[in-house]
């Protein structure tokens, strides 16, 4: 596990206990999750891997407190999640959702402004993050002049600017072309590691999961539950090194079989 995982008395960053969720709609009831239990450790990069439409995004919405579970209990940093007490999370979406009419710096400060934390310390921090991650010259530019990868980095910095304790990533790279995708995921992963953030990412892409995760949870199709847990122990930190490792293929086949069984059943 790359020795990233702190074990000790501190409670896990996220703790799902027997969580179930049913969506209601006029057409009927959909059971999205059933008896889902897992934990995310402090400083860990956890990937939830599952087939499309298995309820992965639902898990992130639950952690963010955007929806309530129908059953079970969710603890964030040891405390039970309630509607009044939403955790301070950073959510990164598949479309970068940068506001086209706002300059990059204003986009990055959006979260701080909404949280009424638009003070000098936060502004300096945002500017420092932009400088550090190669967007220093684009602070006053509009998002349309950024490349896809730069936009995605700006979106991550927007998420980091509020200094959240937990990052949620919802297939953040799937809108990018293949090469950009690998480069950007390498970028984003190293930023998250360097900032020491706990992250939960959902994806259906096995290679992406393997190149980023400390630990992977393979989810079953709907209603989603944990089908298999996998500690990814590939030497090398970077996305490219991991992809080059011979172990990568072994892991890939392992997960492929798991998902294939799922489709067959």
């Amino acid at each position: 596990m790359n020795g990233k995982c702190k074990t000790g008395p501190s409670p896990p960053a996220v703790d799902f206990r027997n969580v179930g969720l049913r969506y209601q709609s006029p057409e009927g009831e959909t059971e999205a999750l059933k008896g889902l239990s897992f934990t995310v450790n402090e400083g860990e990069f956890l990937v939830l891997l599952g087939p499309s439409g298995c309820g992965k995004t639902t898990v992130l919405s639950l952690i963010a407190g955007l929806i309530k579970p129908s059953e079970g209990e969710i603890r964030i940093g040891g405390e039970i999640l309630t509607e009044e007490k939403r955790p301070h999370i950073g959510y990164m979406f598949q479309p970068d959702e940068l506001l086209p009419w706002a300059r990059v710096i204003d986009n990055v400060l959006l979260g701080c402004r909404i949280r009424k934390e638009d003070d000098r310390a936060h502004r300096e921090r945002a500017a420092a993050l932009l400088d550090e991650y190669g967007l220093g010259d684009f602070k006053e530019s509009f998002p349309r002049s950024l490349s896809g990868g730069m936009r995605q980095r700006a979106a991550l910095i927007r998420t980091l600017a509020t200094d959240p304790s937990l990052l949620l990533l919802d297939e953040p790279f799937s809108a990018l072309d293949y090469q950009t995708r690998i480069r950007v995921s390498e970028d984003i992963a190293s930023i998250i590691k360097r900032e020491g953030k706990t992250a939960v990412m959902v994806t259906h892409d096995i290679s992406e999961a393997l190149s980023l995760a400390d630990r992977i949870l393979v989810l079953s199709s709907r209603p989603a539950s944990v089908k298999r847990e996998l500690h990814v122990e590939i030497d090398g930190r970077g996305v490219i090194q991991r992809r080059a490792s011979p172990l990568f293929a072994d892991y890939f086949n392992l997960i492929w079989k798991e998902l294939d069984d799922e489709n067959a059943s």
Binding site: R86, Y91, R115
Partner: protein, 268 residues
Amino acid sequence: MKMPPELSTQRKTYLSGLRRDKRRILTSQILLFVLFFTLWELFVRVGWLDGFIFSSPSRAAGMMGKMIADGSLWLHIGVTLGETAAGFLIGTLLGAVIAILLWAFPKAERVLDPYLVVLNSLPKIALGPVIIVWVGSGVSAVITVTILVSVVNTVIGMASGFREAEGERLALLKSFGATRLQTFLYAVLPGSLPTMISILKINIGMAWVGVIVGEFLTSRAGLGYLIVYGGQVFRMDLVMGSVLVLSLLAALMYLLVVFVEKEVRRLF
């Protein structure tokens, strides 16, 4: 556009082709304009058209010239422009306020939806006599008609613009814990700016319709008044001249809106 000194032959041919097309289109446009007015004038002069019924460019221009000389044309233009501006601004603002309220109370929007649809398809001019009875004849009635003509489509257009601008950004804003007001100020309002501009464009046209019809119904001054008065006393020079002035004003106002639109779109 800065160009390097060396251009390939194909590039030169292409660019000169572009310029030639542009020139030809502009020339044709001017020619069409000149042709229309020349033929009109000519047909009246040689007697193929009855100048008493069709007027002619020179007679209409002469009439307008006389009215400019005695200053009365400025009064009528002023009245019409004032009514148009007032009706346009009030109608658009009122519509925007109602649309914001509907966005803030989605349940109310669902309740009111069928009424908005019916009101939208109702020809508002049908309410003309009612308005004259309620607000009295004259300028206030004209402005009220103008407001009515533009307010419902503003409400419907802006409400859907707001919904569109909210769309997927809602999740992002919610993840930061944004309130409804913050969502509106940070995403919905700036995001629906392009919709607003196209509504303004429509409303300018609507306002002209409202004002002229309003002046037809009840007025003592304005270009609509001149047109209706000229028609009643069979002074077609006055009618045609007023219509031409009206076209010119409408074109100028449209150009203004197009300019504003261009400035706003640059941000998106």
